[in-house]
């Protein structure tokens, strides 16, 4: 399957370079045919497109005409936002999964189109399971792992399912994974991360021993075989690994938050290593208190898929001047850039997806930076542009309920 997987990955990467659909649509409605071989390349001047559109648009349906006009006019004035919104939405995975309340009280999973927000498929927990509790996605935007629990008295049981979505058929194949259940006698499940290639899943949990909290572990299970490798925190701690989501890069790096004393912050585990000590086998990239004591790093970090950049939500606690996303070099721990600074009370919550270079992110943040909105929403963040993703509610639902 290796060649096929490489082909899928290559096509996915290529699809993310797709051109802006607004320009295509404007040219189509203007009846502008592309150049032929031997003809000089036309100057792609959006202002000229707008001028050419002015007459034909008068005859076009009002809604679409207005939309195209808005796009073209905004481009001519170099206004941020609208002209690049479709491009930004098209630059992240085409589908996402979100857990929602089902009609019969179940907790279902829905697969949605990122651009339109349309629900493409609904996955209901198979009996006797009642609720999906957490979800994680592979890099192909159509392979997911769902944690599910039955409605039953007694210990809370969690088992794991593999969901494969076929966009052509709009169907989902759900299969129970050969991974031991986690129940409330054996441990607490904190977070999940599916490897980018969809062959392994990382489980972030705290072990229960004799009814008391034991050490924190990250377990990595092979999906086909269920074989496991375990990294465990040294000694026993009730703090341990905390706050999902985990983030898994193509090079095998896995980012997790850690609250252990003297070593708290965002650490990166080399999942290509054998199991063993979680701390010895991982490396802290960002401390939980940044220099100067003014900022506290949030509990989650998101790796760019090439594994080189770590994006972290940062909260100012001393100056009360604001909060923001910061990006750090995984290799050196050095701060590279600041993204989307907002007033203190406006929350930046979490980054849940990054492209290869870290230049395009899916985050929960206020849709504007003017401080008028204190609600954070999921959107695509790139440079100075933030575009809300249709169909996703405010981030209070929690990042473990959404996977890209």
């Amino acid at each position: 399957m290796r060649t096929e997987d490489d082909i899928r990955r290559a096509f996915r990467d290529l699809a993310r370079q797709a051109p802006d659909t607004a320009t295509v649509l404007a040219n189509v409605l203007a009846g502008e045919r592309p150049r032929r071989a031997g003809q000089p390349a036309p100057v792609r001047d959006r202002r000229r497109v707008w001028v050419r559109l002015a007459a034909p648009l008068g005859a076009v349906a009002a809604v679409t005409g207005l939309a195209v006009a808005t796009v073209a006019l905004a481009a001519a004035r170099h206004e941020p936002g609208q002209p690049i919104s479709s491009r930004l939405l098209a630059s992240v995975p085409r589908y996402y999964v979100m857990l929602v309340q089902g009609r019969r009280g179940t907790e279902d999973a829905v697969i949605r189109n990122t651009v339109t927000g349309a629900t493409i498929s609904t996955i209901r927990p198979p009996k006797p399971f009642f609720a999906f509790r957490s979800v994680t996605a592979a890099a192909d935007d159509r392979t997911f792992v769902l944690a599910a629990s039955p409605l039953a008295r007694g210990p809370l049981i969690t088992e794991f399912f593999l969901a494969r979505f076929s966009p052509g058929k709009r169907s989902v194949t759900l299969s129970l994974l050969p991974i031991p259940e986690i129940n409330s006698y054996s441990g607490y499940l904190f977070g999940l991360a599916l490897a980018p290639d969809g062959t392994q899943v990382a489980v972030d949990m705290q072990v229960i021993r004799k009814g008391a909290a034991g050490p924190s572990q990250i377990r990595i299970y092979s999906l086909p075989s269920g074989t496991v490798r375990v990294w465990q925190a040294d000694g026993s701690t009730t703090l341990g690994v905390y706050s999902p989501p985990l983030s898994w890069a193509d090079d095998g790096a896995l980012a997790f938050g850690w609250s252990g004393s003297n070593a708290g912050g965002i650490r990166v585990l080399n999942t290509n290593s054998a199991g063993g000590s979680l701390i010895a086998r991982s490396r802290r990239v960002v401390a939980d208190h940044l220099p100067g004591g003014l900022s506290s790093v949030g509990s989650t970090g998101t790796l760019s898929t090439n594994g080189r950049l770590l994006t972290v939500p940062v909260y100012a606690i001393g100056s009360r001047t604001g909060n923001e996303f910061q990006q750090f070099s995984v290799a050196t721990g050095r701060k590279i850039r600041v993204l989307w600074p907002v007033p203190f009370d406006a929350p930046v919550d979490v980054a849940i997806w990054s492209n290869s270079s870290g230049s395009v992110l899916v985050v929960a943040a206020p849709p504007t930076r003017n401080g008028t909105s204190h609600n954070s929403v999921f959107g695509v963040l790139s440079g100075d542009h933030f575009v809300k993703i249709p169909g996703l509610p405010v981030s209070s639902v929690g990042a473990t309920f959404v996977a890209f």
Binding site: E4, R9, A10, L14, R33, N306
Partner: protein, 172 residues
Amino acid sequence: MTFEEFARAQLPAVVALATVLTGQPATAEDLTQEVLIRAHARWDRIGGLDRPDLYVRKMVVNEFLSWRRRSWRLVPAGDTNLSMGTVPDHAAGLADTAGMLAEIAKLPARQCAVLVLRYYEDLSDAEIADLMGCAPGTVRAAASRALAALRVTMAPEQPGEPALTQHVQGHI
């Protein structure tokens, strides 16, 4: 469904398909534009179909094959001279993405289209056959030849061993 409704819902997917087929965003823009202008002119008929999106995809694929026949396609991005013999396991896959795209671009157009429809659009062989106007067996043969060619060209090269060529390719 009006043309505008279709465009609003389907255009990103259509443009993405064209991008994957052609390997070039600029070429994809032109190809999509060409197809949609024709679709727009005939929307009274196309819009009444059960699946106008499939019909437009068919138009995109046919246009791509037609462009390839006219040798009008640009060479896709990607370094065809990537070293493929030394990087181990997972990292190799990452490094070879550009190389993979370059090798796919060298395939005959119909094999390339079959790979895109199978591994990007996730269509079944029967659906691909219907879309391309050929038998499912022809689709399977094309996919098999394309995969065989890619496995040969993307395989690590042994020192001192002559580079294998694409002798397993064939047109469908």
